[in-house]
Symmetry: C2
Subunit: 473 residues, 2 copies
């Protein structure tokens, strides 16, 4: 069965994650999905990179999934932000529980009572931990695989504590750097956006978000970095003894990425034929397809073995199935395999290989001796660059700059809208009334955009900064 065209994004995405065996979406509870083996491998590879980045200066830990109501409710802004979407456990076996337990929607209130016990003096700071866990949200909106879930199965959340606001701010900058590295690695362009104060994380001082643009022109939040200031430290009484012997509240940050990173990866790189995966995270990096003719089978298969010898350090498949080559091409294109080798009698005789890349699909011949680990890695690197450039072009095509409120209204129907806006809430509200959601102000100009960061506020004409509004997931 052919995929719907990518132009019909919602159907295409829905079909592709099933056809490519990322998820089974038939689990009998709304908003919950099953990770299939192929999808799970992709998840492991993508999260492997995230772990590698985090492991440089964070410790991995695991906190319980259940949070007593008494802790969850302590920080008043935080509970206000989450109370509408928390799953509550009220019974153990046949007995009602004395204290209701929340299934963690995020782990601040599970972690910070322990931080209070862990932090004694300045020598205990900075504290930096992360975990990759399942978190739960009772979503009442339309749920979507990988995008809007009731069980987020793969929430990477990092939490840090510092001596003062300056060090917390430095950590915010570092976290932004980690996430840039991660999204550059999977070739996803992003905007780094300072969220409006009325849209920050409940309990935070401010929130910086990573947003990207989906093929239908809606924005997708794919990461957040929060400066929590002393808010949670005051609630959970987390203090340290300074050099001067006095006690001070710690300053905290937290930052998270969920499996939306995989939604972006699939949606932005994929095409009408299926997945297009960057080389480093592809569960299968190279597929060898022997083209067998009678009387030449042995030569072709022997030559395939020589080729395998040269690529065995990669994740490869030698497809010896019964299907015709065309059916095999189709199958592995759907799965996004970055590099395809075709090997028929002519190749075996000339000792070369017909190579094609998933994103380009033009074919070229390479002599066997030139197939080396280094060569293949450089193909992978080139492909990442092509994917990133293609994604940037796509995203630029989905951006429009608005000079008036009526232009916002017009453009926001199919695009993400850039505009200049001041920080007054009343001006922001005027934008939100016209064009979906105000994502906020660009913290920095993406390297693919050529704009001034400052300009006249589209509403009041005062001093404005480049801002983004869009319909969003």
């Amino acid at each position: 069965m052919a995929l719907p065209a990518k132009e019909t994004f919602s159907e295409w995405f829905h079909e592709l994650i099933q056809a490519a065996e990322i998820l089974d979406i038939r689990y009998p509870v709304k908003g919950l999905y099953v990770w299939l083996p192929f999808g799970f491998k992709l998840r492991q590879l993508v999260y492997g990179k995230l772990r590698e980045i985090m492991d440089r200066d964070h410790n991995e830990v695991y906190f319980p999934a259940l949070i007593p109501e008494t802790e969850l409710g302590k920080e008043s802004e935080h509970i206000k932000g989450f109370e509408g979407e928390v799953y509550w456990i009220t019974h153990g076996g046949l007995d009602p529980l004395d204290v209701k337990l929340a299934l963690r929607p995020t782990s601040e209130t599970a972690m910070y009572p322990m931080f209070k016990l862990w932090i004694r003096t300045h020598a205990d700071l900075p504290l930096r931990v992360y975990q990759i866990v399942n978190v739960f949200r009772y979503e009442t909106k339309h749920t979507r695989p990988l995008i809007r879930l009731r069980e987020i199965t793969s929430f990477k959340e990092a939490h840090t504590a510092h001596r003062n606001q300056k060090e917390a701010e430095e950590q915010v900058e570092k976290a932004i750097g980690y996430y840039k590295e991660f999204y550059d690695f999977i070739a996803i362009p992003y905007f780094v956006i300072h969220r409006p104060d009325w849209d920050k994380f409940p309990g935070a001082v401010y929130t910086i978000a990573f947003d990207t643009i989906m093929p239908d022109g809606r924005s997708l939040q794919i990461g957040t970095v929060h400066n929590l200031g002393e808010n949670f430290a005051r609630t959970f009484d987390i203090k340290y003894e300074g050099f001067d012997g006095n006690h001070y509240y710690v300053h905290q940050t937290c930052y998270g990425i969920s499996e939306r990173c995989i939604a972006a990866l699939i949606a932005i790189h994929g095409d009408d034929l299926g997945l297009v995966l960057p080389f480093d995270v592809a569960p299968i990096q190279i597929v060898l397809i022997p083209v067998l003719y009678k009387d030449k089978e042995k030569e072709v298969l022997d030559f395939c073995k020589e080729v395998v010898e040269r690529i065995k350090r990669f994740r490869y498949v030698l497809d010896l199935g019964e299907e015709r080559p065309g059916a095999k091409y189709y199958k592995w294109e759907l799965k996004g395999v970055p590099i395809r080798f075709e090997i028929g009698p002519k190749e075996a005789e000339n000792r070369n290989i017909v190579v094609s890349f998933r994103d380009e699909r033009k074919k070229f011949s390479v002599p066997l001796e030139e197939i080396s680990e280094e060569r293949i890695r450089s193909w992978g690197e080139e492909m990442r660059n092509r994917l990133r450039n293609r994604a940037v072009e796509f995203i630029k095509g989905k951006l429009k700059f608005a000079r008036s409120l009526s232009e916002i209204e017009e453009y926001a129907k199919s695009s993400v809208v850039l505009l200049y806006l001041c920080k007054e809430k009343s001006c922001g509200e005027q934008v939100e009334n016209r064009g979906g959601k105000l994502l906020g102000w660009l913290k920095e100009l993406p390297n693919f955009l050529n704009f001034e960061m400052e300009g006249e506020c589209i509403v009041c004409g005062g001093k404005g900064t480049l801002a983004v509004a869009s319909r969003s997931y």
Copy 2:
């Protein structure tokens, strides 16, 4: 603060997992604990081996943590077995849910409705998947870190489907083989025991368990393998089309290991000084302790660098801290570091290293040139053998053979009791009345025991098989 002696097992275990920074046990909900960075690394290494074994012929997947009441209740024996210990989610936000959701206590009822969709013909079989997930039990008994938990954070559960009973039984044998390999790898001796029919997994045809013996003489179940026959297939209507065009129910197995494997690792190998970890799973495999004297510091540190060059492929620490060497020895012994290198001015001058092993603690000198990856690996291997032998000796010391019911009663107070027993329930009950729990009948004789497998039933004098009774966790 010194650890309690291992003889006082319960206190020793409780203190050790905190002192060695495995878990923080102060989380404010009974039966829930926090994995600390060092403990988490140990867990990753141990589960890495389990993953490696599973990955050979299983696919890793992830199923949702929430199971609707309607599915959980379908298999009548299964729900009877679990209904007393299931956590129920009754509310999402402020709204009561239409259908209550169970937090998975195990995943049969999450997976098998999907198996029905996945399995069409004999070509889809065997199906073998596994996942490593958090599962939840509302334990009303005394909870203990790693042993009796309300959130089992690290449940490795595998589930398989086969064409017939013979193939399911072959899978049971394979699963026993996987678990033997795993426990041999971490040097934990075990008994493979056929559980009594009245103590099998709810919904299974029969259960084979792995049990070991804890230092206090109580047995600990550290793995189970269940033959589910057609029980769940009939409940969830999982059929396949055979070669003959007819439809048949699949035959299923499932098998699991939880973080009790880490409880066994800590409890059985540890000693009065702390953890004793097998080389392959130690978060830190080698610690280098420079012994610094004035005027000789440079020579010692330069020599340390040369040593590091030779061990850099292992997980090592060069401890340059300010403490005295004795304090460092103590600290790294507590953490179970298998190999210690001491390097002072004499060693730097003679270009050799003082080596000692965590389990032996005698010291010997090795010339620098002999420090190779191969040599270190062989030390690790020898240590695994020593640990296993020591564990076997310990376990043999905790075993007693009973010739009468009154001997069972006497021995079971401090030991695990071997006896001959027939399969009559009435005979089994007589044993349970005397000596804690009847674990069941040995499926095979452990290679460290020299016993006949058959003998006269201790109760009725009929044909008996070697059985095990004990107090158990």
